[in-house]
Symmetry: C2
Subunit: 406 residues, 2 copies
């Protein structure tokens, strides 16, 4: 209940940013920043990638939990929005998202009640199931409400995260779903991001193939309760392999193939940049890949001894699975087009509210108040630090303030 | 600008929690939970500790950014609230905190403007300075506004974080402050949490002694612009050594000694539990130390293979400097007084929205939906994951929903 807030939260803080201000003059820092040009590029790029492969896009919304970005994704052609929890679904629905794919088991009476309310209000809602106990719990709950709940069976891998460990378990679970009049079996779901192997790409291809075989087996057995069942997988690292497997099996003719990358929308400067390089290596036909759009701007706070700058940026402001990387530097109040050197600058430590940067020996043009742009790995864990992010143009002018609804 | 939101944010989500519900029935999980009894104990314990040592308490508010807790801290006798950034100060002030100790350099025109507005609105505001450049920036900014800004000089250590590296640098900085008519030198500040040494306690004692000598030297040189200058240090790990050093020098006779622990208020199940054990070893006279009050409740989401439980809890919900620890388990809809075994349960991995728990071989009473209470290290990085936390009584009944203002 304490997560996934509704419409009331959106925009209440907007008044405190002067739209049109530029980031190097007059904006309180640190601030999380989204660059419009790469954002627009990424939105169009992934939509086109998906369509070219005969699939639909349901971007994972948990990455950003930013309704203005959900809107952009839907306007670009997305089929729906994927989410991770019932409160996230409630938040997205309250901001106008009608088709919700909850790529997780729905657990807990209060969360079930939340989803029941969304369905009653008109949401086109899907969640996943991977165990008979949960199927029975859901069957009972929604039967008591005289509602029907659409579920996708999750196929996992041994040693993985959630999901049935075998095709046999999937078939058993399909029988359990069929025994619950309140449940509608609407497809098959998987997540290749937790599949491991000595050759990770080969392991993902194998898993994608098993998804294809499993959905076809369920179809042959007449298990689906809908005309066009959903077949869905893919995070932001291996989406190409999933799309290729679905397309190679021509699933788009009888199923609704759905890809669910989330991080693509703003990309990153770490984990996903590496993953995207691999995609581009595997797929030389793809033009101009994803581009990082998310940065955090912060100021030099203290220059207490030679070779050390302390930045007013911390774990409260930026994802810290990996240390942030220094991208650019500006003088406060200067020209946003004029960048100062950050050659040799190295983040060495991140505390709650402070970042330690090691400076090379010959830096002498640095000043307290200098503005440094940082990139991070894994955008999800930067978004959730902020109630608002600033959308800026190429001149670093603030065009909009985007509210999050974590 | 995107941080430190004002009053409007408080409580808008309260309507979605049914006060009086209990955590094992009908509350959407995961939820961050504060237990009232240990909270009340910690509030009183640290207040008394501070008073017994002749000091004042300005709890670090960045830990919780929870106005309802600021109120409890002030009602318990706190002298003021410490904060880390200008937006945090603005948020605290908007929730009724009048005396604000910003234990950081104030950097950036927009942040200075924010503080100028707080001072104009009646805030009793202090920040720290550690360099001549920043002193000149502040002097110019506040002179132009015809305002006076009270500053404390920060004494750091070589190889540490912010702060002057020597007494000579402190004296030079005091001269620079004296040269700025808009600045008022109101005290000396330090933070022993970034002091390191082979014998950490000895290094902290040395540093505390240097703080004492430095504040006395500034006093002798007539550097202070106020009758009772502030001398302040201490996080939540070494507060006893700081308090003892200040008391041993009888600083309370001519100065205002201020301690600034933050994490004490809800304590933790990691770093600070260890630190508190050390405090209690050093101080056998102290009775019944701090007690952990903050937990995150979450549900078993999937039992996909023997020995593995996947919990609907992730990095989005709980601090992850260390892996969370499993504390207790309840059956959903059961008696909150009846706990199920978690012997041998071990968290092995934390993802954005999922926790992996390794189960011992003989667990057979576990069910999807079971409710597990988790503890974390370092409370700051759990609070900032939530817009609301639930205050519960000993029967796990929800007494209140506390809004955060990150």
């Amino acid at each position: 209940m304490a997560k996934g807030t509704g419409t009331e939260r959106g925009g209440v803080d907007k008044g405190t940013v002067e739209l049109g201000a530029d980031l190097v003059s007059g904006v309180s820092l640190p601030a999380a920043v989204i660059h419009e040009a790469p954002l627009a590029h990424n939105l169009a790029w992934m939509q086109r990638f998906t369509e070219v492969h005969g699939a639909r896009l349901a971007p994972h919304g948990k990455t950003t939990m930013t309704p203005a970005l959900f809107k952009r994704q839907l306007e670009a052609g997305a089929w729906g929005i994927t989410l991770a929890t019932a409160p996230q679904c409630r938040a997205a629905f309250s901001h106008g998202v009608r088709r919700l794919l909850m790529a997780n088991q729905l657990v807990g009476q209060a969360n079930m009640a939340m989803v029941a309310d969304l369905i009653a209000a008109g949401a086109d809602f899907y969640c996943v199931v991977d165990g008979v106990d949960n199927v029975r719990q859901l069957g009972r709950f929604f039967a008591e409400r005289n509602q029907r709940l659409a579920v996708l069976i999750e196929l996992g891998v041994p040693g993985g995260r959630c999901g049935c460990r075998s095709q046999a378990a999937v078939q058993t679970l399909a029988e359990a779903v069929a025994a619950e009049p309140a449940l509608v079996l609407a497809g098959l779901e998987g997540y290749e991001g937790v599949v491991h192997g000595e050759d990770p790409a080969a392991a993902v291809r194998d898993y994608a193939q098993r998804l294809v075989e499993t959905v076809l087996a369920l179809e042959s057995a007449g298990r689906f309760d809908v005309a066009e069942p959903i077949i869905t997988a893919s995070g932001s690292a291996w989406y190409d392999l999933i799309a290729e497997a679905f397309q190679a099996a021509s699933l788009q003719d009888r199923f609704v193939p759905v890809l669910r990358p989330g991080c693509y929308v703003v990309h990153d400067h770490g984990l996903y940049r590496e993953a995207q390089r691999d995609v581009m290596r595997r797929r030389p036909d793809l033009q101009r890949g994803l581009e990082p759009a998310l940065e955090v701007f912060a100021q030099v706070q203290s220059l207490p001894e030679p070779g050390l700058a302390i930045i007013a940026l911390g774990k409260r402001d930026i994802g810290h699975d990996q240390l942030p990387v220094v991208l650019r530097r500006y003088r406060e109040g200067g020209d946003p087009g004029e960048m100062l050197s950050v050659v040799g600058w190295q983040v060495t430590k991140l505390m709650d509210q402070h970042t330690f940067v090691h400076l090379p020996g010959d830096v002498d043009d640095i000043a307290v108040g200098d503005i440094v742009a940082f990139g991070a790995s894994h955008p999800c864990l930067t978004f959730d630090k902020w109630r608002q992010l600033l959308l800026v143009d190429e001149a670093l002018k603030v065009k909009d303030s985007l509210a999050t609804c974590f």
